[in-house]
Symmetry: C2
């Protein structure tokens, strides 16, 4: 711990008393997310309850140049919560109040620590729901910070689209509101979108205003097997070209299906498979289903297995959400390393074929699932934590995947973010634009205290001026 951080913690202790913890278990817990990356514990953890708590904490940290790491639920995958330079982690899970819901305007304002499941539970009787679903029960502030999306972004958008405004505590403790409750605005630079996806490196998000969606009259879910990944993707491309408002279009490769069968006690054909969901009025869903049935047949898809009753649907999507655990169960004792490239959808079959070839060449085990409608897919690469050689091969796989993505105009991360894990890939992707990123970071956080060592290593870009 640096002397300045020690002094900052002394001041924080005076201000916050027991809401500040330096206990080893608490510190370790806050570095212990779901990531496979090496993480570092903070020197202290503050359990914040109000925006004012965050303001006071950031002001003290700013004065002493003590690093500040925002923490929601610890479900980020790229090391975003690691306290790379020690300092203070601000745990926002206590800021879990839903501040306002407007049924007429289809929007709400929540504190950053509200989780997506808590929000949806609260909304249940309003006829509205919050549509962004990354699987994990992440906090809304965390989801905004990593620009999260998930299974139904193809229909409802990502956090980039649904966040209307943010309350942000800046590096010097100033609080700003980035937008308004208007559904659109041309009023100056888009501060909302600047902080969405900034992973806490430009400020701490304390409140979020969100667009909500009306709960559809009917939801129908189906599973459809295909002879090849290419055929499965082609049927989704055709649906999108037809303007079909697919709510979810998830691809599982044969290995992932096998894993799900075993883990979730399903009996699906072991073949590339689409999990589809249709939202709308009765008539609209009927029509979508009939068109999709036609399209899948055209591309050699099998019969639809339907799950219209809520319980069946829940079981199916629970299996989809559990694929991570299903994958890990393929090799007990293994950890999972998720990849996350996103490419133009026309390129997806080739990129997936090359990825599977890479996996085979490198002697790895890596079931695949994908948010096909967005061109985004994940491999869950299984790794023996003790096997250095395997870890090296996974690093090689990851690099190859990103290079395939960049070669076809794609991105190194569709929804997980950069964290500590993908800084090199981001530099390749953005090229000269990294200087612009560095200029923004330096402008808003000149002391480099906000989640330092994530997204970009500021020292690398000092040559800008």
């Amino acid at each position: 711990m640096t002397r300045r951080t020690m002094e900052a913690i002394g001041r924080l202790r005076e201000r916050f008393g027991d809401e500040l913890s330096t206990a080893d278990a608490v510190r370790a817990h806050h570095a212990n997310g779901v990531t496979a990356h090496r993480t570092t514990a903070p020197d202290a953890v503050l359990f914040a309850n109000t925006t004012e708590d965050v303001v006071d904490a950031v002001r003290i940290c700013h004065e002493y140049r003590c690093p500040v790491v925002p923490f929601g639920t610890g479900t980020s995958t790229e090391g975003q919560i690691s306290a790379e330079q020690g300092g203070l982690t601000i745990d926002l899970s206590g800021m879990n109040r839903i501040l306002r819901v407007s049924g007429e305007d289809l929007d709400c304002t929540v504190q950053a620590g509200v989780t997506r499941k808590a929000l949806n539970a609260w909304l249940r009787d309003t006829g509205l729901f919050f549509p962004v679903d990354p699987g994990a029960d992440a906090s809304i502030g965390g989801m905004a910070s990593t620009r999260a999306s998930g299974t139904n972004a193809v229909r409802y958008g990502t956090m980039r689209e649904v966040v209307m405004s943010l309350s942000v505590v800046l590096a010097d403790g100033q609080v700003i509101e980035t937008g308004t409750r208007a559904r659109k605005s041309s009023a100056g630079y888009d501060l909302t979108r600047l902080f969405v996806g900034a992973e806490g490196t430009l400020g701490v998000i304390t409140e979020v205003t969100l667009r909500l969606a009306p709960i559809p009259q009917r939801i129908a879910a189906a599973v459809c097997a295909f002879p090849t990944v290419r055929a499965a993707v082609a049927s989704v491309v055709a649906a999108l070209q037809n303007g079909m408002p697919l709510a979810r279009a998830e691809l599982l490769d044969a290995l992932q299906v096998k894993a799900c069968n075993r883990y979730s006690k399903l009996d699906l054909a072991v073949s590339p498979t689409l999990f589809l969901e249709f939202h709308g009025t009765d008539r609209a869903v009927d029509e979508q289903v009939s068109l999709m049935t036609e399209l899948t047949r055209e591309f050699e898809g099998g019969e639809f297995r339907w799950a219209t009753a809520t319980e069946e649907r829940t079981r199916l999507w629970q299996a989809r959400h559990d694929i991570w655990w299903a994958a890990l169960a393929l090799r007990p004792g293994s950890q999972g390393v998720p990849t996350d490239i996103c490419v133009p959808i026309s390129q997806l079959p080739d990129v997936i074929a090359r990825a599977q070839q890479d996996v085979a060449e490198l002697g790895l085990v890596a079931p695949l699932c994908g948010h096909i409608g967005d061109g985004n897919f994940h491999l869950c690469v299984l790794v023996d934590p003790a096997d250095r050689n395997e870890q090296a091969r996974i690093a090689e796989l990851s690099a190859r995947l990103v290079s395939h993505a960049h070669a076809v105009g794609g991105t190194c991360t569709g929804e997980h973010g950069i964290g500590t894990g993908k800084m090199g890939y981001l530099a390749n992707e953005r090229g000269a634009g990294m200087m612009t990123l560095a200029a923004l970071k330096r402008a808003l956080d000149p002391r480099n205290i906000m989640n330092p060592g994530k997204i970009l290593c500021l020292d690398t870009y000092q040559s800008y001026e």
Copy 2:
């Protein structure tokens, strides 16, 4: 002209020859947009043909600290094209090539000078269209720069949603690509959204990658009269709450209907009126229409007047697009001053009622039209250019409107931008956030040469450091 600008123009002349003009008529033309604001002509105009032209011009201007004003078609309304401090206007209308269209990916890349009508004409046979429609045949680069939207943003989004990536020439002449062709990405700060809406104050946009939409199987348009504005808005709110994917929902007040009847030879009932458009498959459109008929009846709407044939629909929407001219024709010789507030849709009836009361109190004539689904409406305030007193009353009206919008969580501009016209309103809206805007501007354009004097007056915010 400053000495430095004179030197810059000398250097530009050497590099560009006849593509650079200092002719009075050319300079005056480039300051002569559709705005009612006072504008200033640049000292020279460059007709750019390539990104390299823009790079070379900006490099020279950067060296001599000569202002740079990007120009597309001159259709911005808030003085965005005025060369407030003289300098060089870069006319991008020659950069009008469509570089790439992908039917499978539903996207394209165009040079910034391509207009939306030219793009749609080119796309006609592809089954795709570019959905953002601000009325004027603006350039894609200009539309990105003002974060434009228009009549069907309620369904298809604004430029914020449809721009995937930009090529931008920065203040020092460096070229960056802000994103990729992936439909979503969590790769670092959202540079694309930072330049969308920046009105050329952070760089010159030279290429734009856009999402396209499939042309719907059927388009149906209808007109429906209501006894009150409140009833018309209520029926649209109900439709949105039902999850109906309305393609267009435009409100005209009684005065605007009267103006349209006269100008476009229509015979609509002189009453608050919705222009509606439904997109989808035959069955989907049928269903939307039947539900919307129910909803409008519930709120005392009259019979739908249909325009399903293309010519009828074109005539109707031509009338909608011509409302500006229809409004001006109410008082020959007048100019129009457009207002542009956007509020949460539940607040729209009250805000419109107050606006109409303000118009009456101030003795003005101002027909109203609105993009109801977004909560955005315009008054076209008629002004006699010679009447100073009337101009003062219009300024008062504008201030009142913005203050009503801010009081209910809205914005001073839904789609026209800030330019020179709304800098004070933006400062009120953003509050402490103006310091963040200034920090961004200073970080990316430390010499303040990119469209200076728009969005924010940098001198005002020097106290930030």
